[in-house]
Symmetry: C2
Subunit: 215 residues, 2 copies
């Protein structure tokens, strides 16, 4: 199993959390999405993922490589293939809530703070992409907190780690990096703190990846 990713990509980080939490051995293939306009735009990467994004999980099925993209689709696959410890709760309603929370970040925040979006808005339209992304990060974190408050225990959904936590932790890091004040989200900060006590979340941190710049 191979993971194509980038150390600071939030979506890659979500999948790294899932792999580490489940203890799944894999090879890491760094894709530098910054250098020379981004290696994801090389001809060869188009066959790996036509959307030219990271992460991609590459597995072998019947002797041929199968390349899966979209972080939540990858995490759902890993949870079906390696069910223990699970990242989606057993209860049907809590599973639905977990997916709702994950999508608030995946579809409700990430597209607007994405490096490609920011560059395009800045270069093609002269938009202050920081002002633009802040609006969506703040709206999303406020909604995430409001929804999570119904289910939160130690983590987003009760006392078991879920896919929602795997989305939240990278999102809070990205929010700070982009200069968003995260103090209005105390419930989310408390959950982040609980997650960061776990070895899987520590191992998945960007600074611990082989393609992170040396300090």
């Amino acid at each position: 199993m191979k993971l194509h990713g980038y150390w600071r990509s939030s979506a890659t980080w979500r999948v790294r959390i899932a792999l580490a939490y489940k203890g799944i051995e894999h090879e890491y293939i760094p894709v530098n999405i910054i250098r020379d306009g981004g290696e994801q735009h090389l001809d060869t990467y188009g066959a790996v993922n036509p959307m030219r994004q990271v992460p991609v999980l590459e597995i072998e099925v019947g002797g041929a490589p199968l390349r899966l993209a979209q972080s939540l689709a990858i995490i759902e696959f890993l949870d079906e293939r390696f069910p223990t410890p699970r990242l989606l709760p057993e209860d049907r309603y809590l599973r639905a809530r977990t997916r709702q929370l994950a999508e608030i970040i995946n579809a409700g925040i990430q597209p607007f703070q994405n490096l490609g979006t920011s560059l395009h808005l800045r270069e093609a339209f002269g938009v202050d992409d920081k002002t633009f992304s802040h609006r969506y990060i703040e709206r999303g974190l406020a909604a995430f907190q409001a929804v999570a408050e119904e289910t939160a225990g130690r983590y987003c959904v009760g006392d078991e780690v879920s896919m929602a936590d795997a989305c939240l932790v990278p999102q809070l890091y990205a929010s700070r990096r982009f200069g968003v004040d995260v103090s209005p989200y105390p419930t989310l900060l408390r959950i982040e703190e609980a997650c960061m006590l776990l070895p899987a979340f520590q191992a998945a941190h960007p600074d611990r990846q082989p393609d992170a710049p040396k300090q």
Copy 2:
């Protein structure tokens, strides 16, 4: 079961397809996202969905209302609760591919063509939102087609309708409405044609909804 939605919302339409395909009885609660700046911004709607978006599926759990948002989370819930006919294939790899395809539209296109995004880009930054959204629609449809070509039969994933089809049909309608040339995507047009022969897809069409303007 109640569906809060808007006749022309792509995300609502995806859920309507799932409900119709599975033959699930429900009440439809129109939310006019245009009139007076949008009913989703009324105080009362904040309790229905803190993200202030449609669709929301409202169900009763233990006598209390449970409100689920995010179209893909809702469809996954419906597929678990009402497994026949299924909208996610039985095969683990095809399930993953179905989710990947759905996310290309849900997270890769929809956020960029969304009414709220278009209005904000136009009003706050003077951006030509049509030029902006076309870029993401075209990138997404091209990637969707490239990925779907590996699995497509009569529908996106083999010969059974899936969540990917429930995302594709509303996306093609929206693409045309926004003036995108869809002729470079013959595989997708062929699948759309096959879907539109099915009564469930016909019943879910925006023009057939009670809140659609009278012709």
